[in-house]
Amino acid sequence: MAQPLVKKDDDRDEEVEYSPFFGIEKGAVLQEARVFNDPQLDPQRCSQVITKLLYLLNQGEAFTKVEATEVFFSVTKLFQSKDLGLRRMVYVMIKELSPSADEVIMVTSSLMKDMTSKTDMYRANAIRVLCRITDGTLLTQIERYLKQAIVDKNPVVSSAALVSGIHLLQTNPEIVKRWSNEVQEAVQSRAALVQFHALALLHQIRQNDRLAVNKLVSSLTRGSVRSPLAQCLLIRYTSQVIRESANNTQTGDRPFYDFLEGCLRHKAEMVIFEAARAITELNGVTSRELTPAITVLQLFLSSSKPVLRFAAVRTLNKVAMTHPTAVTNCNIDMESLISDQNRSIATLAITTLLKTGNESSVDRLMKQITNFMSDIADEFKIVVVEAIRSLCLKFPLKHRSLMNFLSNILREEGGFEYKKAIVDSIVILIRDIPEAKETGLLHLCEFIEDCEFTYLSTQILHFLGIEGPKTSDPSKYIRYIYNRVHLENATVRAGAVSTLAKFGAMVDGLKPRIFVLLRRCLFDTDDEVRDRATLYLNTLGGDGAVVETGADVKEFLFGSLDIPLVNLENSLKNYEPSEKPFDINFVPKEVKTQPLAEKKAPGKKPTGLGAPPPGPPSTVDAYEKLLSSIPEFSNFGKLFKSSAPVELTEAETEYAVNVVKHIFDSHVVFQYNCTNTIPEQLLENVTVLVDGSEAEEFSEVASKPLRSLPYDSPGQTFVAFEKPEGVPAVGKFSNMLRFIVKEVDPSTGEAEDDGVEDEYQLEDLEVVAADYILKVGVSNFRNAWESMGADFERVDEYGLGPRDSLAEAVNAVIDLLGMQPCEGTEVVSPNSRSHTCLLSGVYIGNVKVLVRLQFGLDGPKDVAMKLAVRSEDETVSDAIHEIVASG
């Protein structure tokens, strides 16, 4: 290959880089490949042509089926040559061409001959090629040779067979599993990589047999594994065994921990690191177990090799999420990494420091970060911004310096995603830290003065409209907003007009000034801007009279639209111009329950900055609004809880109905969400007949029928019951859907005039005790438990009978009580025999309830439970016990 394959370029074209493949062309090379068919083979030349073919493939050139077949057949001729180098290229070429089954037959005999050759290189490579292209049928023929090869004295041959075995295990497991004796022998090999490959294969053969894996690990952890790679494998298998082993940390020492700890003193860095990482990832690792691992990682932090520093800081970063105190020892080393050349390392170091930092180190850290921010890429900056946001929420007292930092970086150069991350962070801080509100809003105002992103400008204007009027001096924001009307594009101008109007509506003192500004907007060049200005001027009384804006007008202008946009869009499309004006009240109000959470403000681009404050409109808010809009239910008082939808029909029936239970203090409202899935039908006057004879404490007081239920357009009907005040009454209700059905002509979509009355049986519905408990979490259960005191504590034990698993029993009790699991205690670690679960909630009548559940396996499957309840009212504590006792 010394001589150039293609003529060298002319000297005058020195700019073009010289390449032996300059001007190479597929067609020409395929022509050249004919030399493979020569009776007198020239190995050198053939090698060159194969290199050219491989070059083309490597550059992404595709061969057609015909071309590939042609090349493959001529390449098979090259097995005649005894040239080692050429044979080697032939092997690579065959693998690259990945021949089809009938083509494979052509080379099988040649490859099998090579597999039994005396030359080690032939054997090793022929095995790899044959195993790559073969299918199961051929495998049985060569199995004998492969087993021999596994224990071959040449490590290269042995490794080739073992690695091929790992690949073949995916497709032909039953054959490979027969080799385990040979593989077992190879694990003892003195060649490092043979040991590695043998261990990998042996484990994969046995991976479904937990006992065998256990045995493998315990025998090897005692013995000496020579290869670092094999040692890494062994560490991975060991941590898997630890994860799955039944013994938990409570019973003293963890099995195999000593082995992992010993690996921290291995001479190969990859082993040390693998072991340190495995220790940090142990389930429920203790700080005593962590310490030695953290110590070696700390040493890595000051290594001269970037890869070691990166690996260590990345692992410590993960540890900092769960055990921040364990990492604080490394803070000094970590701080010096902020100036690391490798920006990935620097970013990881900073975010780790932000996680482990305490209140006093915040200011110093921010100073360091400021220098650092200017020379990292946007993606890293976003990570830092997010870390700062969580730091600020952790230390609200530090909001001033953190907010300042955010506003400073907001003013610097940056792409959209980065700017959006900063703006989102400021908005979240404003929402969660009241003291930060005014400065935060001013920072945002300054930002929109010079903001190139329309999306961000409109979002901030919307947010200002909500928060601005509530501040002590709303007038100072007006200037920033009105500037938008002069300087920005139409979308932003329209947003600014709406925001101005909001100030006008909310702050009466500002009204006259706002009207002046809005009137100027009437001459805007854009229709939407003018329309908005006109609308607001008329509805807010801009004709000079300064009157207090009525609540209904505010609601009309700025309230959230309680109609899903999809429904409104459909209705508008279906509306045909006529005498009768379009009536928004005829738009079906609800889709399913989920889209409620996604309600949009009118005239706004989708999704606000997260959502309108304070916090996203939870489903409860949406339900509350929906129910209070129905006059019959408006005097029921405050909605206590709405259940998740309960399906009352099987999937794919004619009519799909689910129900949401709304609990009020002395009422219960069932909201039936109905969908008609038959295109040829229109349902009218839809009601649900509820039979409450098995629910003695309930009496029906009102029902609200659904006037019309067209195909595939969901609607609701409601039924309300009265119940004794404050009492968690339970009962069972049977339901019958009643309606008038009208045939619809599918071609015209028109319904016939006459309908037939019909009924449809639904499944029963139960009101259970859990409906009276709100899921409300507490952040620190122990504190809450202690401060609640033992005055109304009730403790009792229950046998839960045989259960599938502990986890199943825990979930059953959580569901029964309908309370919020705290501190992640709903997760039962696998194979444990006991578990403690902490629950918190609010009982009807706004009584706080805390529950501590202790589960234990009693015998092989029987689960026993100790239930301790604390609440502010002893009747409530008793009620919880009753729920469990009757459940």
Partner: protein, 203 residues
């Protein structure tokens, strides 16, 4: 469950990000354009870094990439986000040093392309279907080299052309190494060639 360390790809690019030789062991990039997009991304991300004395490392799109540069050659090894970074670096070092040995210290793009067959064989010897085969540069280079030059098989198994090629190889190498060629050397070489021819004929 992926317990065995695995390599997603090995890339050798030039100083403009063009392929010299690449090998993918994973289906994460099903098409050539996906592969090229990945290479472009890796190249632009690492271009400005100084990875000439020590291997550098970066993380993006949930991949870990370790890399090292020499002259106009850029070496990359990619693994999944949970891979042991040091294992990846060991593979990179093996590849890097093996190429150095095979190109006899003249590591640049031109030399690499002229010896592309060696580079391709080298890739073939380091990783098989994502599983690490060998990481010791001397062993890798030895396996690759023995095929093309120092044919280990007995002389009798070689053809005349092979023997001539071997001789020519020796000649060129000594030409490269010495400034002038004494006549003696030439003569002994000729003798060597004749020997080879003789042996080949007699078998």
């Amino acid at each position: 469950m992926e317990l065995c360390p695995s390599i997603k790809n090995i890339l050798l690019l030039d100083s403009e990000g063009n392929r010299v030789a690449v090998k993918y062991y994973s289906d994460d990039w099903p098409t050539n354009s996906a592969k090229e997009a990945f290479e472009r991304a890796v190249f632009t991300k690492t271009q400005k870094t100084n990875a000439r004395t020590e291997a550098e490392i970066t993380m993006f799109d949930n991949y870990i990439v370790v890399y090292k540069f020499v002259q106009d050659l850029h070496f990359f090894v990619t693994g999944g986000e949970n891979e042991n970074e040091i294992i990846l670096a060991t593979v990179l070092q093996g590849f890097f040093d093996a190429v150095g040995l095979l190109l006899r210290g003249n590591e640049d793009k031109r030399e690499a392309l002229e010896n592309l067959d060696l580079i391709l064989l080298c890739l073939d010897e380091i990783v098989d279907g994502g599983i690490i085969l060998e990481t010791d540069a001397n062993v890798i280079a030895g396996k690759v080299d023995s095929h093309s030059m120092d044919v280990g098989a007995p002389l009798s198994e070689q053809t005349i052309t092979q023997a001539l090629a071997t001789a020519r190889e020796h000649l060129t190498r000594s030409l490269l190494q010495t400034e002038y060629i004494p006549d003696v050397t030439l003569m002994s070489l000729q003798a060597c060639i004749l020997d080879a021819i003789f042996v080949a004929d007699s078998t």
